[in-house]
Subunit: 321 residues, 5 copies
């Protein structure tokens, strides 16, 4: 679905144009065309391929979807894939953003995502000086927008993790802790798969042999790279903490288990003593003098109570109870 | 076993030919010969070695089999090994694909695998413009076909893993979960051994000093490389998830264990109290007034019932029962 | 909040000046201006941006905060971010130090930290020969001061860890050990995030293509780099030890558990024997000769005592008790 | 102990010679001398050092033994160390192979190993064309022979591991499984120490700046490198599987433990009920109507049997029994 | 404390000299001065700094101590830090060796260590040809001596580990095994911190751009590097084995635990049966025919013995006892 098709010259908007006229504007000097599609059909992609002379393999990838983030250069053109990540129903949904960049065009295709990027175009049009840098700057603006949207998701994961950390040392929450830590780890993996390969791509645009279209925007791509590095470091840190937390949680379960065993042993001991005494005085020997005492029963109950109490006190002191 | 032996000129099929005439066609300008073998015998390999002037060490490797995926350059010729992976009876079977590539020939040998690659030849013949790039393009077409067949297997592993993830938190399934996770990990290892070294090989054909025969197809080899990178990332992710899942499963077993212990302790406590009371009133002291009461028995049963009930309520509240 | 604004020429203090006059002094030959701010407001940053011609992206980062340590070059200017770490209430608080360095200016901004860096300026002014090296030396002095403050914190962590190591093999301390090890690990992570990226930045100032302003102070930056490497190695070592300690602690819990089980089993066995004997002699069979013996009761108690004692001795020998 | 001392010219054997005449033959054009020693004494090494002008440090290493595999270049000469691995009594015994290679000599010293390498010399002599490449080819032949002997040992480890994998899920074999997995891991470590550093050494002979003596045999050294890479990959895979297997085994033990606990709890419950009932009817209350019933005893036994049976059925259904 | 101060010319000892005359000898052609200090005071270091023109930062490091092993170049001079490791009271004590090397001087400072290095000087003086290589050779001799002293310590750790490995599978030794493995790991860490950074330093002296003073001794430094690589590989191997051993030990504890539980369950079962029967015949029902039998008691005991025996036999068969 076509969202926008606009030509820019020297950083200023020239005209919204129908896709058929793209060819005309591509020939104007200092002019570039920026087309935005959403959930593009193969037919739309085919017409774009014809209009901009996109490389067959890049179009194939875009049609097929399920790409990992990457930057591919086809001679002077580039094909960039980014992941758009949204949270819905406590799950992370992964959409894709495909950007084709040439010296005089930008084609951005957003698939399977509700995230609106119209703000990027608006901001670019408000800064003609920057937009005059050409298609490379548009690529930067798109990458910057996509990457900045990772931050709130990562921060939410950090908040979740901090909440979980409080609960690790709480008794009885082990089962749900593990389940949540596991889900958290899965989310971190999704984000890491979005961030790490894109960082590699941004690295290529920041230093070394930079594609021509991006040559004037190196500082800007380094900024994107730096944001990705920050995201990546946060994700690694979360992942590392989750691993430790699972391990610690397991330790707490084991400690819990030991404490339960000790308490079980203590009570079993106390009752075993009581039962043993009761059993002894329940024996049917003929000559058991204490059975005939006036206060034998009280005496027996007293012995049982005293020995149970003594054990209770001992176990208490040893912190088994 | 010979499957095909065909000569191509400028991207068009020239003739199917008997192996004896290979020499004649190799001398034609702009012509290359593509031979396909299946489960080649040492004799067949020897005749091919003579016909194409293959390097002794490469032929030795091909005869011996059990190679890891690799790309070896012998001056201007190349020797490529790929793994063909099929699933049968819930096991992954590894076959091998050996490809010898020179400026004017391609020899592909498929061993221990039922996977048919005739489709590759058909597709190549339908695109004369591509095939005109020569033997390097045929190598690409073969690699692309092999690599694309990894995807459905990896996807199946992902589906299996997702099914298992649901079961990790189910009680009582621990034993079979562990077994399945273990089997899954073994399969991932088999695939990883096919993918990782081949990725390294594809990397050499994509950038840097590329062998001459492949020089015109760099973008295509980068596409293969990218597919392998995607497979590799998926496999790493599955492997990582399996590791966590085993650890989590172990945690669930430990938690289960604690819960069983608690329940055991609770019931043991309740019965120990009942038995202790019964034991006390079973003692043979002469003077135990309550024994002579009219409703002493009921009184005794009542005490037992009330104390058992009280304990049951306490344990219930503490979530031990 | 402005702390200082001073101009230096040939290593000597020229004048404290109001910010409006910065432009005048920047034009003097061999002169540089060093401004120090604390918790700078966006307005203050904007005026500094105008005065020194700071790069927009660097100022944006400084305004936004939450940066990871880094060194960014904007043509001949540099932007350095460092973490200032303080301990308060057994937590590590992370502040930030932003330093903008140009050929003839240094702007240092300290955010969210109570750590006073006035001593750095005083020390620099006492060594005019060093200060004559210019803005690069000031950057060194600031980095050196920040990095040297990491050492006492790391040493405190090491002391804590050593104290904990003594306790790992103490029975009954498992729960608090785990909690403390976990907290320690969190602190190590905070420090590692301060040290590792800064080390990378210091590495760029020490060898290879060094920014011009720092060219004369390479040996000094290598010293900072070396201090960071030492910190980093210490932190890695602490982290590694914590991981082992958690694992060992878990082992100790498991061993404890086994010992508790054995003791439980031993006492249960002893009482079970006593109770079984008592039960047997409590049976109501008519003809049980020993019941009628004169010293049958003593005999019974003796049997019970002897068998219990024997078991006790056996368990003692097997180290179950 | 001297095994062989032979001079070769243009790939053909010239003469077996006494060590005193080595000097004479070294001066012949196109001629090289190949000496093989076994468990060389320091005296033998000293005379070889004199004859070939070996470097002091290399001879020191050879005398001292316990070297890790390596390749050291001394100007135009090379010193190569390889591990010879034999299995005896279910242990891996590590011998050493030291090879000194110069433009016109090869000195191979085999220490602490019964592995015969005479076959290598025989095979070389049968291929004069190859041997004509000189001392570098002899080094290749020796390395190839040593490396090829790793394969059967690695395959045996793989077979052992597969046998163990079957047993992991068998109950009651945990203790011996762990012991065997541990022993297997130790063997893998021994082999890994032989393979990994040698691979590094072979890498230097295969590409980049190759020592002159080996320049004509690069394809051959790459073949050795490839064999080592294959071995290394197999060993990594075994090691990885062992780690998982130990972890899985631990999980199986834990699951076993839970099952035992459940069964214990179930039987304890059943008997506790029986004992409680028996205890109640063993009380000495005066008025316990059911005691006087004609079939009271049967009634009592019935109650006990029914309640025990009910519990048994419940536990069975819950899979605790 | 000054130990030695000697001037050498062309590999031969010229004179022992008072520190005041160092300046005179430094000016002689082909002459170098070798000073050895022990636990140097800041005053001694200051006078040495003046005499040799040492760099301020290097002297600061030496005064401060607690350095990690390193090699720092200050223009044509070098500053090397090594760790001297001694065992005392089952702990590893870390001393430091600081070596300042210039074209015509060597200053070695040994701190906090009783290890005598006089032998190094003696050996150097016995080999004038080597010593004639100058200060770089002295540095080699010192490094070689320090590194060679690591071997016996590492071998002792290996012996300790092997002794421990025997004990892992011994029952009841778990607690002390863990403690020892933990201590061993700590020692390995201390050694690793001595070896790994020094290896990096030795690497710089062995290849690539080598400092001038060491240029003639590259083969010698490679030998040191190789020794360090061997030590490092041994330490990695020990560390890896310790990790596995801790894990295996934990497995053995878990298996032990299961066996104890089974035995507990078995004996509890046997006694529960006996107690249940005794309880039943202890009930007070009026009509319990077997109570009146002549051999009822024997019959009862028989039933109890037979059922207990049967259970014992069953548990034995199932290997629970």
């Amino acid at each position: 679905m076509l969202i926008n098709c606009t030509a820019y010259q020297n950083g200023r908007k020239l005209a919204d144009l129908p896709t058929e006229e793209i060819g005309t504007y591509l020939r104007l000097p200092g002019c570039f065309v920026w087309v935005a599609l959403k959930d593009a059909t193969p037919e739309e992609m085919a017409s774009m391929k014809a209009a901009f002379g996109l490389h067959e393999l890049a179009v194939e990838d875009a049609d097929h979807g399920h790409q990992r983030p990457k930057l591919e250069e086809y001679d002077s053109d580039m094909f960039v894939v980014m992941h758009l990540i949204e949270e819905s129903n406590n799950r992370l949904k992964v959409g894709e953003m495909h950007v084709f960049v040439g010296a005089n065009y930008v084609l951005s295709v957003r698939n399977l995502s509700e995230q609106n990027l119209l703000g990027v175009r608006a901001r670019c049009e408000r800064e003609p000086k920057m937009l005059a840098k050409g298609s490379g700057y548009v690529l930067y603006a798109l990458m910057d927008a996509v990457v900045d949207r990772y931050f709130p998701i990562i921060e939410k994961l950090e908040t979740e993790l901090e909440a979980l950390e409080e609960r690790i040392f709480t008794k009885g929450a082990a089962r749900s802790n593990i389940r949540r830590l596991y889900q958290l780890k899965r989310k971190v993996t999704v984000l890491k798969h979005a961030v790490a390969p894109l960082m590699e791509a941004a690295g290529k645009l920041q230093s070394g042999r930079v594609p021509e279209a991006c040559a004037g925007s190196q500082h800007y791509f380094r900024d994107v790279y730096d944001h990705l590095a920050r995201s990546s470091a946060s994700l690694d840190s979360i992942r590392d903490t989750i691993t430790t937390a699972i391990q610690v949680n397991l330790s707490m379960v084991a400690i819990d288990q030991t404490e339960v065993s000790k308490r079980l042993a203590a009570w079993a001991g106390i009752f075993a003593v009581a039962t043993a005494f009761a059993g002894i005085w329940g024996m049917n020997f003929k000559y058991m003098p204490e059975l005939d005492w006036r206060y034998g029963y009280l005496f027996g109950l007293g012995i049982i109570a005293v020995s149970s109490g003594f054990l209770y006190w001992r176990f208490r002191k040893a912190r088994w109870l």
